[in-house]
């Protein structure tokens, strides 16, 4: 096996490249990235970077210069030829591979209607997006409207309220942070209201107003939210369209259909890592899952990188870690492990002021996930328990 090519130069791609080398692969290793920057960490983009507490340099991953690989940055991969085993880049050249690791991540879902290009309408995914939003927030606007009350929307609401800017947080769902379930979603709603956020829940957005610059957001309930800035935070789409013409199986939401070892079911020489992967998880009874969180991207990179240098697919290792995610909003650290949304009931088992512990169980009473507010030690204990169960499953 001569050459490993990693497509995607963010967290999953970086960890994959490091794992390929750590596993003893000594010949060619190429990492392709569409952004011009070396890999950087994204969680601060909606928090510390947006708040001005960190710079873009602070977000750069350390250790990238120690990875013995060729970085091909600034040009996305646009096609793969599986017969010739070659990947075409937008810049025009083709890179041959023996093993391919796809770690192309996701992009922010744009506003689907008119007005997406109005001045003052933002999305948040890359460093440049965060710097543009930060510049706009420091230019003296009075009002920010956020369309979508998920992770990005809620975190940006919290960061922006610290600047004293009026924030309206809008979602078609009846609660913010849907993955937390209705009960904890209600706690999040209280948290944001307590910090002066105007919550508009259970109502969709029908349009963005404005001719050159955005002036407001029209809601399905007939009201209008005036705002000089709008953040569209409608979630993310996996960057996998470029693979479909090559006959690499994608699921209905664009995830690359993989087995438990993160190997494409269409091609044993194609592996995947991070947001793009759809793979069967033991804690979901073997159902396919797709996870868009930091820790899973890091773990996937390690597994896919090690597996890529194993020739016999039967000897590759499965990825069984329970997913872990977090969100920082105001002075609350929300942490979760496993698949809380797969539970049939969520029970708050401990509560002490802003600290909270909740367990998600399925119909048989089996623990499938846990969520804590400001209780990292308890969350770590659940994580250990679920990791043990996942290995045993």
């Amino acid at each position: 096996m001569e050459r490993v090519v990693v497509i995607g130069a963010s967290l999953a791609g970086l960890r994959a490249a490091q794992a390929v080398r750590a596993a003893g692969h000594e010949s060619s290793l190429v990492v392709v990235g569409d952004e011009r920057r070396l890999p950087y960490t994204r969680p601060p983009l909606s928090k510390q970077l947006l708040a001005g507490e960190q710079t873009s340099d602070d977000c750069a991953f350390p250790g990238t210069d120690a990875v013995a690989c060729e970085w091909r940055l600034g040009s996305p991969a646009v096609a793969v030829d599986r017969e010739r085993k070659s990947v075409a880049l937008a810049a025009g050249d083709a890179i041959p591979y023996d093993r391919l690791i796809v770690a192309t991540g996701s992009r922010a879902r744009a506003w689907p209607g008119d007005g997406a290009a109005l001045r003052g309408v933002h999305t948040l995914r890359a460093v440049e997006d965060a710097l543009a939003l930060r510049a706009a927030l420091t230019a003296g606007p009075q009002r920010l409207a956020i369309v979508g009350a998920g992770f990005i929307g809620c975190e940006v609401a919290a960061t922006t309220r610290k600047r004293g800017i009026d924030v309206t947080l809008i979602d078609v769902a009846p609660q913010p942070m849907v993955p937390l379930g209705p009960e904890l979603g209600a706690r999040c709603a209280e948290l944001h209201m307590g910090h002066g956020v105007d919550l508009r829940l259970g109502t969709g957005v029908t349009g963005l107003r404005g001719t050159d610059a955005v002036e407001g957001v029209d809601l399905a309930d007939g009201t209008t939210v005036d705002a000089e800035l709008v953040l569209v935070a409608l979630g993310a789409l996996p960057n996998t369209e470029w693979l479909s013409a090559a006959g690499i199986a994608l699921d209905e939401r664009g995830g690359i259909v993989c087995d438990a070892t993160l190997t494409s079911v269409s091609d044993a020489d194609v592996l995947a890592a991070g947001d793009v992967v759809s793979w069967p998880h033991p804690l979901a009874d073997g159902a396919a899952v797709r996870v868009e969180h930091w820790t899973t991207a890091a773990e996937h990179g390690g597994v896919a990188g090690r597996n890529a240098v194993v020739d016999d697919p039967a000897e590759r290792a499965a990825h069984v870690h329970p997913p872990y995610f977090w969100s920082d909003q105001y002075d609350i650290k929300i942490q979760a492990v496993g698949f809380p949304a797969l539970g049939t009931r969520l029970e708050i088992v401990d509560e002490d002021g802003p600290r909270l512990v909740a367990e998600a169980r399925d119909a048989s009473g089996r623990l499938v996930g846990a969520i804590t507010f400001n209780n990292a030690k308890r969350l770590a204990a659940y994580r250990r328990q679920l990791a043990t169960e996942a290995v045993a499953a």
Binding site: R15, Q18, T41, P43, F61, P62, G63, W294, T295, A298, Y324, W326, D328, K333, Q335, N374, N375, A376, K377, L379, A380, R383, R384, A387
Partner: protein, 62 residues
């Protein structure tokens, strides 16, 4: 080797506790405790902890 944690960055995710439980520990107050002087034999585990930290708060002094 010396293990450093920048406590201005640490946010008690506890990622480091899994690869190297003998080096890192979350206290009952959710504040991280760790051993500064760690035997060379644990380097691989500590490097794993360095890579697992979402806040990039952990470093190793040779």
């Amino acid at each position: 080797m010396k293990v450093r944690v920048d406590m201005n960055l640490c946010q008690s995710h506890g990622e480091c506790v899994f690869p190297a439980p003998d080096v890192f520990e979350l206290g009952d107050d959710d504040v991280l405790r760790w051993k500064e002087d760690v035997d060379e034999s644990r380097r691989a585990a500590v490097e794993e902890a360095v890579n697992a930290c979402p806040m990039m708060a952990i470093s190793i002094d040779e």
